[in-house]
Amino acid sequence: MGSLTLKQFQSPLLAPIDLHLAAADCLAISGPSGSGKSRLLRALADLDPAQGEIRLDGRERAQFSGPEWRRKVGLLTAESGWWSERVGDHFERLDESLFQQLDLALKCLDWEVSHLSSGERQRLSLIRLLAQQPQVLLLDEPTANLDQRNTERVEALIGEWRLAHQAAVLWVSHDAQQRTRIASQSWLISAGELRPET
């Protein structure tokens, strides 16, 4: 279960945001680059300081420690970070079915991160994130480096995850068609304001 509620939430570059994202709901966000989409996701994940109210399933953020909050409100950054040479060192627990669904073999856990393609990195960082069992997903262009087949796989996996775990999803995407495929509602950042796309 995971719903996200914002009241007068102050993200950098943006006017205060009021928003309720119900459990198992998917909201797509678009907007020109530099308009503050990534910074909004960082602020929501409590990676950057932000003023205003934010609740997970009705509970105020202050009731969670920073690490607890980030574990539950999972952020997938546009460029993934890796702290160890071996891919496998980055996974807390392994769910083989996730690897299969994204067309990755488990033996890639023994590879070096520096040998991964950008598409492999992107898929592996999604699996790494889902392994933490987040209740909300904040996705920053999760299919930017993927071909069509892998884009479909990622969309399918996130869709299933959303329903199975009743997780709210906030999905930043530049692709208008993708936005209609994956999300029930689509919001746009323009002139420093986040509002429903018409």
């Binding site: 994940a45 409590d46 990676l47 950057d48 300081p49 420690s65 920073g66 690490p67 607890e68 909050w69 980030r70 574990r71 999972g74 952020l75 950054t77 460029e79 993934s80 970070g81 890796w82 702290w83 980055h90 807390e92 790494r128 994130l129 933490q132």
Partner: protein, 266 residues
């Protein structure tokens, strides 16, 4: 053995060599002649002043005066640590982290050395306290400066991998652990190397001084051993304190990485 007194002419000859070096630098356009001469001048002025101050304190050994000098030395060392940071902490922390760590380590180790090991009478006797504290501060200063610089530089360069860990719910402590370790190692390597090379490759400055001053070589050795051991302990504890305080300061109460607390270099 008697001490051969140096005349101004003797020092003038040595200074002549440095001036020669400055001329060479000018000729080869190395562009360091100005800095060289200023540094040499600082050495002359600062050490002469220190000699005068110590001469005065030997006669007038009032605890308050000694404490003032010790504090002054600490503050200057703290400034040096700060000046060597490429990305130092904003505000009072920039000065505070290094100075506090040096205070903790240098003062406590010097205190132990004076009261328990050397047992000088009184323990704050200028002849022992000031040279010991000076050696401690001078060496912990470089160790702490290197360790802190390494910490902040690496945190800056590896911010993406630190944040990758934070995003996955790791604590600040887990996320900076490797960087902290490498910072501490880098701060300790110079003194470890110095201990390993002491007496084989290099004749340490203090021992040289004592021998020149007429102390029997074995006595000078013992003092040098004491100093080296104290310095390594002081540097180790000081660098640990600095890296610990510094790494904590890189994160806020929500355990977010706060690189905005560092000044950009330049």
């Amino acid at each position: 053995m008697t001490l051969i007194l140096l005349t101004p002419l003797d020092l003038g000859l040595a200074a002549g060599l440095v001036i020669l070096l400055a001329l060479l630098s000018l000729r080869l356009s190395l562009g360091i002649e100005k800095r060289l001469l200023i540094a040499a001048l600082r050495t002359i002025v600062q050490l002469t002043l220190l000699g005068l101050v110590l001469k005065f304190l030997f006669v007038q050994s009032h605890p308050l005066l000694i404490a003032t000098l010790a504090l002054f030395m600490l503050l200057v060392a703290g400034y040096e640590v700060m000046a060597r940071q490429q990305r130092r902490f904003m505000g009072a922390w920039g000065y505070g982290v290094g100075t506090l760590s040096m205070f903790i380590s240098s003062f406590s180790v010097t205190l132990i050395a004076l009261t328990v090991i050397i047992q000088a009478q009184p323990w704050y006797s200028v002849q022992y306290l000031i040279p010991l504290l000076g050696m401690m501060l001078g060496n912990t200063m470089s160790g702490i400066a290197i360790a802190l610089d390494n910490l902040t530089q690496n945190a800056w360069q590896q911010r993406r991998s630190i944040e990758a860990r934070l995003i996955l719910g790791h604590t600040w402590d887990e996320s900076i652990r490797e960087i902290r370790r490498s910072a501490l190692r880098s701060g300790l390597i110079p003194i470890i190397n110095a201990m390993a090379a002491a007496g084989v490759v290099s004749l340490p400055g203090m021992m040289t001084g004592q021998i020149l001053g007429g102390t029997p070589p074995l006595e000078a050795s013992k003092y040098q051993i004491l100093i080296m051991l104290l310095i390594s302990a002081g540097t180790g504890f000081g660098a640990t304190a600095a890296v610990w305080i510094g790494s904590r300061r890189l994160f806020d109460e929500r355990e977010r990485l706060r690189l905005d607390r560092l000044k950009t270099p330049g």
